[in-house]
């Protein structure tokens, strides 16, 4: 081991010592625990405003956006964040989101629910940030291990069950409220996957201070709107985005204004586990929980149809594929095929690059590939014979 490596080792050991002391010192519980009181106030003013280059406000959210993040508003405008200056993110309008509008138009011209599908599917609901609460109703923005968000999840569960959809509402806590909570909730999500759910919803609330930004009168009720979040760092994000678009278009057709928009944010949010996994932000911590509950109940009304598990619209000749429920065997989902093609392309490109790098050049890579075909496939069609010893052993 060289001198430089030893220096790194020493530096890392020192760092380990300091961090171990920091993590387990007597007041570590406060440090690691869910932020409350002072810390909630510390972040209370944190709100990113997304604006067009001309200054027109597009959206507000309590998160650090990075260039490349995208927003699709409820009216179909598709923006991409170009640069972030302090608490302002400048986003460029990419145009109207064609797929969202097409789906919306189809719903406007027909789509009469006539029959319920004869299946008993299950939707999985869980909460990565299990301490999230609503200050006006719950008294705090965070209630450790038992946030008000569980009640919102319950309302969603009951609303779905009343429409004939089975729900597995998981109440596993993943405290504290941090980014590692997604690593912890991944275990819960995989456990839920074993029940073969048709969709998986991770229910949260936002953290912007302005409750009015989420407050809306929808279908005669004062509610908190719902924001759908899709992770950009998911290799199959196009499929999840397809589902998110359908959800927003149908929910807003059913109850105009119930979905605020779709945010494509830098993260995975365990959506790589299922193409119909979504993250929902129901209101913000300054909304009342009752508003959030009413909001999520209205949103729930749209879920069965989009999943094809409740009342479905009549089939009409020439019906576009995107008007079919996400689970319809006849639905050709462009996002899904795009994700598939991308997966194959990236796989092939990565394999080829790896081969070239590990073989030491293009010529050697070609030779290795030929060897591989000769040995693996040649032997497959030939009668069994003793294998030559593995040269790497």
């Amino acid at each position: 081991m060289g001198r430089r490596s030893k220096a790194w080792l020493a530096a890392l050991l020192l760092l380990a010592g300091v961090a171990a002391w920091y993590g387990f010192r007597p007041d570590a519980r406060r440090t690691l625990g869910p932020p409350a009181g002072g810390e909630a106030e510390e972040h209370a003013g944190r709100c990113i405003t997304v604006v067009e280059p001309g200054g027109r406000i597009v959206d507000k959210m309590a998160r650090a956006l990075v260039p490349g993040d995208e927003v699709i508003t409820a009216d179909g405008r598709h923006y991409r964040v170009r640069e972030v200056r302090g608490d302002t993110a400048v986003a460029q309008l990419l145009g109207m989101d064609a797929r969202l509008l097409a789906w919306d138009q189809e719903l406007a011209t027909g789509g009469i629910p006539v029959q319920a599908a004869g299946r008993t599917p299950e939707v999985a609901v869980y909460h990565t940030h299990s301490s999230e609460s609503y200050v006006p109703s719950d008294g705090s923005a965070f209630i450790p291990f038992n946030g008000g968000i569980y009640r919102v999840g319950e309302v969603l569960t009951n609303a779905l069950r009343s429409r004939g959809v089975g729900v597995n509402h998981d109440r596993t806590p993943h405290d504290p409220h941090d980014n590692n909570a997604y690593v912890r909730s991944r275990k819960t999500a995989v456990r839920l996957l074993k029940g073969n759910p048709v969709a998986m919803l991770d229910v949260h609330r936002d953290g912007i201070p302005d409750a009015d930004f989420y407050r809306q009168r929808v279908s005669g009720q004062e509610v908190s709107q719902v924001r759908i979040v899709v992770g950009r760092q998911n290799p199959r994000r196009d499929a999840n985005l397809d589902f998110a678009r359908r959800m927003m278009a149908y929910a807003n057709r059913l109850h105009p204004g119930i979905v605020k928009g779709i945010l494509l944010a830098s993260g995975d949010y365990n959506q790589d586990l299922l193409p119909t996994a979504l993250l929902l932000e129901v209101g913000t911590h300054t909304s009342t929980r009752e508003e959030a509950e009413r909001g999520v109940a209205l949103f729930a009304g749209a879920i069965p149809y989009v999943l094809g598990v409740g009342p479905a619209p009549a089939e009409r000749p020439g019906q576009p594929e995107w008007s079919r429920p996400v689970t319809d065997p006849g639905a050709r989902q462009a996002g899904v095929w795009r994700a598939l093609a991308l997966l194959i392309l990236v796989g092939l490109a990565a394999g080829a690059s790896f081969l070239v790098v590990s073989a030491g050049g293009l010529r050697q890579a070609r030779e290795r590939f030929r060897d591989l075909l000769r040995v693996e496939f040649g032997e497959f069609f030939r009668s069994p014979r003793p294998r030559p010893p593995d040269r790497r052993e």
Binding site: S5, G23, Y269, L274, G330
Partner: protein, 241 residues
């Protein structure tokens, strides 16, 4: 998933196949033969369905066989088979450092009201661990095995740290070490860290004209598997094979 149309089913199946294929190739780089790598892979998949309870009063704690015990066993095997004592320490240190980086980035920097992932969330926590393990393994001596050991130990240590914190806090939490089985952060981090060490290390090494042989312990040199390197070893290092 069985209720999905063909496109979605194909997408999920193909992703799983790619993941398992990459996992197999990654295991294959770790002093395991093709067959042993396949056996470990199958054991991980089967073990993903088995959770063993951990006797910790006050906390619901389990360890998954496929996502916790087998990767831990693999890390132990790699540490045991390490060429030199220093290499052993590198792996263990990479684990401790990975856990600390994961804690610092995922729990200290990215907490608070900011939704859905934290103020500085440019990267999902899931990808922080392999990056940290790969980087540490590279810094203390380029090594795929140290990267793998670092990633596995790092994520498991973080789970253990969480268990200790729950116990000290006296709250009734849930800890599932490697609970997501073959899809858990433990396995995913190990695979990505190996790939990172492989791609960065190999590319850099190739650009520099191959592995540096002079002054390396004989035990490490013996582990170099490439025939062309073995042939050249005597010539470049001046030592007989």
């Amino acid at each position: 998933m069985t209720r999905f149309p063909l496109g979605l089913v194909l997408l999920v199946l193909l992703s799983l196949l790619v993941y398992l294929g990459v996992l197999h190739r990654a295991l294959d780089r770790l002093r395991l033969s093709d067959r042993a790598a396949l056996a470990v892979l199958v054991a991980m998949i089967v073990g993903s369905f088995i959770d063993l309870p951990l006797p910790v009063a006050g906390v619901t704690a389990t360890v998954n066989v496929g996502g916790g015990l087998i990767p831990l066993g693999l890390a132990g095997y790699l540490i045991w088979r390490a060429g030199t004592p220093l290499e052993r320490w590198r792996g263990i240190l990479a684990g401790v450092a990975t856990a600390l980086v994961g804690y610092a980035v995922g729990s200290l920097l990215n907490r608070g009201l900011v939704e859905p992932g934290g103020r500085f969330q440019w990267l999902d926590a899931l990808y922080v661990y392999p990056l940290a393990a790969g980087a540490v393994a590279y810094l203390v001596g380029r090594s795929r095995r140290a990267a793998c050991v670092g990633a596995v130990l790092g994520v498991i240590l973080f789970d253990v740290f969480y268990l200790v914190w729950l116990k000290l806090s006296g709250v009734r939490g849930v800890v599932a070490v490697g609970g997501a089985g073959a899809l858990d952060a433990v396995v995913l981090s190990a695979v990505l860290a190996i790939i990172l060490a492989e791609v960065v290390g190999e590319t850099r090494e190739r650009l520099a004209g191959g592995p540096a042989l002079a002054g390396r312990p004989r035990k490490l040199l013996a582990a170099l598997r490439r025939p062309e390197v073995r042939r050249e070893e005597g010539h470049r290092d001046g030592t007989p094979q």
